[in-house]
Symmetry: C2
Subunit: 241 residues, 2 copies
DNA sequence: GCGAATTTGTGCGTATGTATT
DNA sequence: TAATACATACGCACAAATTCG
């Protein structure tokens, strides 16, 4: 290569370009993206450099590569990817994938101080707040309060009626954002009378409190959520590396 | 390269050789290992292939590479690596790194049915069991029951007095094993009178139950541990990708 | 303070292996 | 079987970081 005046390695620049094509919807799940040789030629880089960019796309779950078939944009609306930030399992070792939700309230407002901290948002930024109760196998399982940074989901600002039963992973994907990681703080507490009523348990029942922030692949916080969860014989699973 | 009669890719074979040198203690933390060109020559592979093997060693935290300096074997006895499977923080956001432990009992025996399941051990395999109470800032913070597969830690069988206050990560390293990942199941429960006494809390106090299995880099379970933890204003943190 | 030597990081180009269609 | 696409491997050149005289 010639002299590198740019701050970024070439394969990282290629990564950005490819990621942009996926975020913009130019490449969608379904058909394979162009093959490596063609892409390398198009970007004017060597096949090895392009492969390194694809390695990164794969690691960040933007694409999936299959030898002999091609490279495919991943659909984050699959069960595997959608529920990967949901670590609660019921007593039968089944992941709690809420089928039904009851929305208590929803609205857009300016971020509070706490929301600004959790979401790394500037003062005055808009957030979409949703309060709901999730059911699992016909039983209310959790009460949730979630806040989403409106500005980071492209097009959300202009949506008249955002879905109140959204699941954050596919919801973000629909707005050009793939999620990369999340952290969750876990404590336990006693159900207040209000929450007890919503979850149909006795007041004082012990619940798990899950305080979660979900980040985009590029590292921005997208959703902050607090869930009060009635484990009822189930458990939470954490995986560490 | 010539025909590939082996099942494994060349860079994976090289990885195994390098990993073996670290496990055996031939290469230790401290001085850098030989440079990439020399290693490639020694193994009779191209620099690119050797680099791919090193990439894997780095990803699995066996080595650390620094441009201009060299490649170094990682010491898992550092705080960062030792406590990476400890996700409990106190009310001041400080990780709970137990300074003091009181051992209640320790001994070697044949694995029970449950231990065989958790540790993927054969019937009759030996396990080292330790019961202890951990302190944090002068307060008892958790009661633990741990079982270790004796056969998977080299030399442990012949140790007359295994340390009762071991920390699993450096302890495994001392026996030629680096740990790769862990999973932890979390529930809450009320303290029994016995546990309440040990943790100096009232009977019935809510505790977090942490049921953890730690795996070696090669994927074998090494330790199964149950901890009953008095959060006392603290919290558990899970990170997801 | 500077330049040479050393070591890893990035990039190029090519050939061949292997899985899929 | 043939064509296609990703996977592995080779070898070389130069960039960037670090160390040391």
């Amino acid at each position: 290569m010639s002299i590198n005046l740019t701050r970024q390695a070439l394969y990282l620049q290629v990564y950005d370009s490819l990621a942009q094509r996926i975020a913009s919807g130019m490449w969608k799940p379904g058909p394979p993206i162009p093959n490596e040789v063609d892409l390398a030629r198009e970007f004017g880089v060597s096949p090895g450099t392009l492969r390194k960019a694809l390695d990164l796309l794969e690691e960040r779950r933007l694409v999936e590569r299959r030898q002999g078939r091609g490279t495919f944009v991943l659909d984050h609306a699959t069960e595997e990817l959608t529920f990967r930030f949901v670590n609660v399992f019921d007593a039968n070792d089944e992941r709690i994938v809420s089928t039904q939700t009851t929305v208590l309230s929803q609205g857009i407002g300016e971020a509070t101080q706490v929301e600004c901290n959790q979401l790394e948002a500037a003062k005055g930024e808009k957030v979409l707040r949703t309060r709901r109760v999730r059911d699992h196998r016909g039983r209310p399982i959790s009460y949730e309060e979630a806040s989403i940074t409106v500005g980071r989901l492209s097009g959300l600002e202009r949506e008249p009626n955002p879905p109140s039963d959204y699941l954050i992973v596919p919801f973000a994907q629909q707005h050009g954002i793939r999620l990369g990681r999340a952290t969750e703080k876990i404590t336990h507490l006693s159900a207040s009378s209000e929450v007890a009523r919503l979850l149909r348990v006795k007041r004082g029942t012990q619940l798990l409190k899950l305080d979660r922030v979900v980040y985009s692949i590029s590292g921005e916080p997208v959703e902050w959520r607090i869930a009060l969860c009635n484990l009822a014989g189930g458990y939470y699973v954490a995986a560490m590396r």
